[in-house]
C-alpha cells in the first residue's frame, strides 16, 4: 500500500531551496573570484558573493534555531544500522529495480546514508566554508582580533571547502532523480508531500 505523508515542513522547504539557490550562486561567484570562470567580472562577483555569503549565514542561524526548537535535529543523528543495505541498494539493487530498503516515515525521513552525508555537510563542510569565508573576509582585522596566519591559508581552506560543496551538490542532485520518477523527490521537496510505502 502506498500513502501520502507530509515529510517536509514549510520552513524546511523554504530553507532548503533558498540555501540551494545561495549555494549555487556562491559556487559560481566563488569560482569566478578564484579565476576559473568569467561571468560578472571580479568586482560584481565579489559583491554578489558577499551578499549571498551573509544571506547564507543569516539563513543558517534561522535553520539552526528551527532544528533546535522543533527537535528535527534528531533526524541527523547518525546510525550504522542498515547502512550496508542502503549502500548495497545504490551500487547494486537499484539496477535491478528493487525497492528502496528504507521506509520513510515522518520520524525517519532520512535514510542512514542521508543522515550521515547531510550531517557531514552541516557540521563540517558548511561551517568550514562559512568560517573560512569570514576569516578570509576579516583578514585586515586579524591583528585586532589577535589572530595570525596567512591570507593564503584562509583562501586555500575556503577553496577546498568549495570543492567539497560542489562535489556534494553534484551527487546530491543526481540522487534526487532516483525516486519513483525522475522528479518525484524534487516534487516532494517542493510540495512537502511524498508518496511512501506503508510499513
Amino acid at each position: 500500500m502506498k500513502m501520502r505523508i507530509q515529510l517536509y515542513a514549510r520552513f524546511e522547504r523554504f530553507w532548503h531551496w533558498l540555501q540551494a539557490l545561495l549555494i549555487i550562486i556562491l559556487l559560481v561567484t566563488g569560482f569566478e573570484i578564484h579565476g576559473s570562470l568569467k561571468l560578472l567580472g571580479f568586482s560584481q562577483a565579489h559583491q554578489v558573493h558577499l551578499f549571498c555569503g551573509w544571506s547564507l549565514i543569516i539563513l543558517s542561524i534561522f535553520a539552526i534555531f528551527w532544528h533546535a526548537t522543533t527537535g528535527e535535529w534528531k533526524q541527523y543523528v547518525p546510525t550504522l544500522e542498515n547502512l550496508d543495505k542502503i549502500a548495497r541498494y545504490y551500487v547494486c539493487d537499484i539496477f535491478k529495480g528493487e525497492p528502496h530498503p528504507h521506509c520513510k516515515t515522518r520520524e525517519q525521513k532520512l535514510n542512514p546514508l542521508q543522515r550521515l552525508s547531510y550531517l557531514v555537510l552541516k557540521v563540517f563542510i558548511l561551517p568550514l566554508q562559512i568560517l573560512s569565508g569570514l576569516w578570509y573576509y576579516y583578514y585586515n582585522q586579524w591583528p585586532v582580533m589577535g589572530l595570525s596566519g596567512s591570507l593564503e591559508t584562509a583562501a586555500l581552506v575556503h577553496t577546498a571547502a568549495a570543492f567539497m560543496v560542489l562535489a556534494f551538490l553534484i551527487v546530491h542532485t543526481y540522487l534526487t532523480t532516483t525516486g519513483g520518477t525522475l522528479l518525484s523527490y524534487t516534487m516532494a521537496m517542493i510540495t512537502g508531500w511524498e508518496e511512501v510505502e506503508e510499513g
Binding site: 593564503e152 577553496t159 570543492f163 551527487v171
Partner: protein, 365 residues
Amino acid sequence: MNLAEVAQNVGLPGRKNCGACHFYGGGADGVKHGDLDSSLFKPDKKLDVHMAVNGPNFSCTACHTTVNHQIAGRYYSKPAPVVHKLALPKDYGNRISCESCHSAAPHKESKLNDHTDKVACQTCHIPRYARGGVYTKMWWDWSTAGRFDKNGKMIVEKAVNGTIAYHTKKGSMRWEKDVKPEYAWYNGKMGYLSLSDTFDDRKPVSLNWVEGSYNDPKARIFPFKIYRGKQVYDPVRKTLVIPKLFGKKGSGAFWAEFDWAKAVAAGMKETGETYSGKIGFVETKMYWPITHMVAPKEDSLKCDECHSRNGRLASLTGFYLPGRDRSKGLDTIGWIVILLCLAGTIVHAVMRLNGRNKMKKEQLK
C-alpha cells in the same frame, strides 16, 4: 629696478614657474617623468583631478608645502612621508601624501579601505601615465648614436607616431603615451648606483631601486615608470663611466667627435675618475615613481586589473592575491574529485537505464 616693488609683490610660485623646469626634465617635454609634462599647465579633470582648471585648479604648492625652507617632496635622502597623518589646508605641515587630506580610509566600501595598508593610492587612481597627449621616453639606446648618412649628415628618423626614433647625437629611442605603469613594493626609500658601485652586467643594471617588500609594514605597492636604455660602461671593472658629451672638436666630446672611447676618456679625465680604459654598453633601467595625473574615480582601476591570472601585479610574487593565485595541487585534486563525481553519476545513470530496459524486455517476454 624698484626693489621695493619687487619685495612687495613676492608671491607663491605658480604652475608656470615649477613646470618650466620640471615638465621638461631630460631635455624636452615629458622625457623623464611620464606623469609630469606640459599637458599639466592646463589639464582637464580627466587628466588630473587636483590640477584641473575646471576643478580645484591646485598649484604645485598646494601639496608641495614648504616648512622651514624644506619643500615637501620625494628625495633620495628623505623618503616621501611614511607617517600618513592628516594635514588639512588649515594645518601647518607636510601635505605631500594623499592621506594628508584624504585619510587612509577614504572609500565608502570597506573592502576598498582594506587595501590601503598594502596598496598606495596612486596604484589604482593613476591607471596610466602620460595621458595628456605628450609622449614620454621609455627607451634610450645610446650605443647606436654617432651614425651619419652617406653624405656625412646627421640622421634624424621619426617613428610612425611622429616621435623621434633615431638621432645621431642621442641614439635610438622609443616614446609612448597612455602608458600602463609597472609596480613594485615601495616604502619611500630609494637606493641608487654610484660611480664606484660594481654590478652584474649580464642583466639590466638598475640605476636606482626602490626598497620594500610584502613583509615590510611601511611598504605598499606603488606605480612606476621604468625608463630603460643602454649606456656606456666599463666592462672590466663593471662600473658606470662618465662620457664627455659636449665640447669643442679635439676635446673628445661625443657631440663633436662621435667617438665613445674618446668621450669616456675625456669625461673620466676631467672628473678625475679612473677606469680600465675599455668600454662597452650595458642595458640599464631606472624607477620613476608615478604620483601625478590622478584620474577621476570612475577611471580608477577595476578590481580585475590585478585580481586576475595575468593582471598588472602578475610579477609581484610572494603573497596571496585572490583571483591571481591558487594552489595548483589543491585545484588539481579538487577538479579530479569533481570529474570523478560527474563520471560516477553518469555511469550510474547509464546502468540504471540499462537495468530498466532489461526489465521491460523481460516483462514483454
